[in-house]
Amino acid sequence: MGKLAIETRGLKKSFGKTHAVAGVDLAVSAEGVYGVLGPNGAGKTTTIRMLATLLRPDAGEAQVLGYDVVRDAQAVRSRVGLTGQFASVDEDLTGVENLLLLARLLGYSRRRGRERATDLLDAFGLAEAADRQVKKYSGGMRRRIDIAASLVVTPELIFLDEPTTGLDPRSRNQVWEIVRGMVAEGATVLLTTQYLDEADQLADRIAVIDHGKVIAEGSSGELKASVGAGSLHVRLRAPEQRAEAERVLAGVLEVPAEPSADPAALSARISDPERVARALAELSRSGIDVTEFALGQPSLDEVFLTLTGHAAEETPEEDAA
């Protein structure tokens, strides 16, 4: 494992009585995508704002690219790029004006700044919208200009705070392509998301965060494995045989089988995929006809449910900070 891009120990931040971040420990290695997954109000945005030096931690320590976020804030700022609903471009200005403004602030000459802005707009498919006010952009274009704005000087680390929230599937795919493209060039990306499939698709490692704490950490495969090998789903020809099938499956798999909403179907969490073949053979020997069966990896939804005791999307919105 290479050097760490981000390391935090006991990071805390409260707003009044709300403990938005209640002791977060992260170790993010350089290169690749690290996903921070959690529902609204879990403390994702607050964590990123602290790492990006926008918010001072109440307690704990955080190093970004080896620099302390409080003591060496300027050093951090000059090395990271930030994209999120909280770090936005100016809607009144045009796309090219926004990027030129940032380029000038980062030290580009007027001429080089304009070239850089044009290159970025081209790369993000916004060339035609360059002279349009950003408030007239579609959601997907808006997200792309936000990402472009964080790349005016190529950062060593990019924070993407919920980059696809509220996007249609096509625009979401474009953002995913951008993230994959950045990673292919060796960038390190810290991505927060409340979408399980997004973390699954993009992230090499995932921290699951809930109520301001990391409740699980690992690769998507490891997280899935931690809740079992997956589930066996079986559909019977005759619904009246379900009770018997339940008994058979429970006997072989040594875990309870559960009836599904479909009166002819049932499923069981499995710990050992080896037993599945035996279970199916046992069903056939008992004279139970199976019309369909499927072996599924557990989804991150199930992971989340297992880890937190509640589903990922049901927590009420409170991520105002």
Partner: protein, 281 residues
Amino acid sequence: MTATTAEQASAPVTEDALRSVLLAGERPSRPGPVLTSLTLGWRALLKIKHVPEQLVDVTMFPIMFTLMFTYLFGGALAGSTQAYLQFLLPGILVQANVMITMNTGITLNTDIQKGVFDRFRSLPVWRPSPLVGALLGDVMRYSIGSAIVITLGLVLGFRPEGGAVGVVLSVVLLLVFSFCLSWLWTMLSLILRTPNSVAGVSMMVMFPLTFVSNIFVDPKTMPGWMQAVVEVNPITHLATAVRGLMDGSVPAGEIGWVLVSSVLLVAVFGPITMVLYRNKK
């Protein structure tokens, strides 16, 4: 693939182009505070270009106030509108400028709400640049407002004895004071949650500040306690100084007062603003 809508017409992100912008490893050296502040001032001017209706407060309000006060009160207060205009115009100029400063806080608060401010805060630039830049942009607004009031005054018959020099000097003094007073609004905008509440609180400060002064009437007829308030109000000294300059005299004492209160405003509200800015949640 056929491109029909505007969204589709914008070419999808291409891997090669993305690679080339990411690999352009240019790291320009960090610009100084003056350049970053001026750049952010340029942003304020761009916003005026794109949203000219935001100039309503620097154009319509001064015109409205000048006309209303001259013709409503002129006859009653000074015997004739012409005589009153001679007294009122420098005062209205002060009031217009001081009113325009409120916009600073409202704009800043909008930037904070929309997240534009955090984008600037996340950059490795001299920390006060976004604030100073916004204030520099506002200097343009004050200048526009002043030009409108003075032009309208001249049209209505205002004749400054101090000539062009007196007028220019008084506008410069106004710009200095307005720039310094704006720090009060930047502070408020970092404390209050919404642009509306910033506007509300600003009004509450602004009305007594401008009306309980010698802008509209000679304070001689006011009760003693109010005269005392008028006497310490920096707006009174500003109005007196501007009147003096436009009248062709150099009221050094009053100018001194204005400059001292300007320095005090920045000395008090500047650091508070910066602390709030640094710790903004």
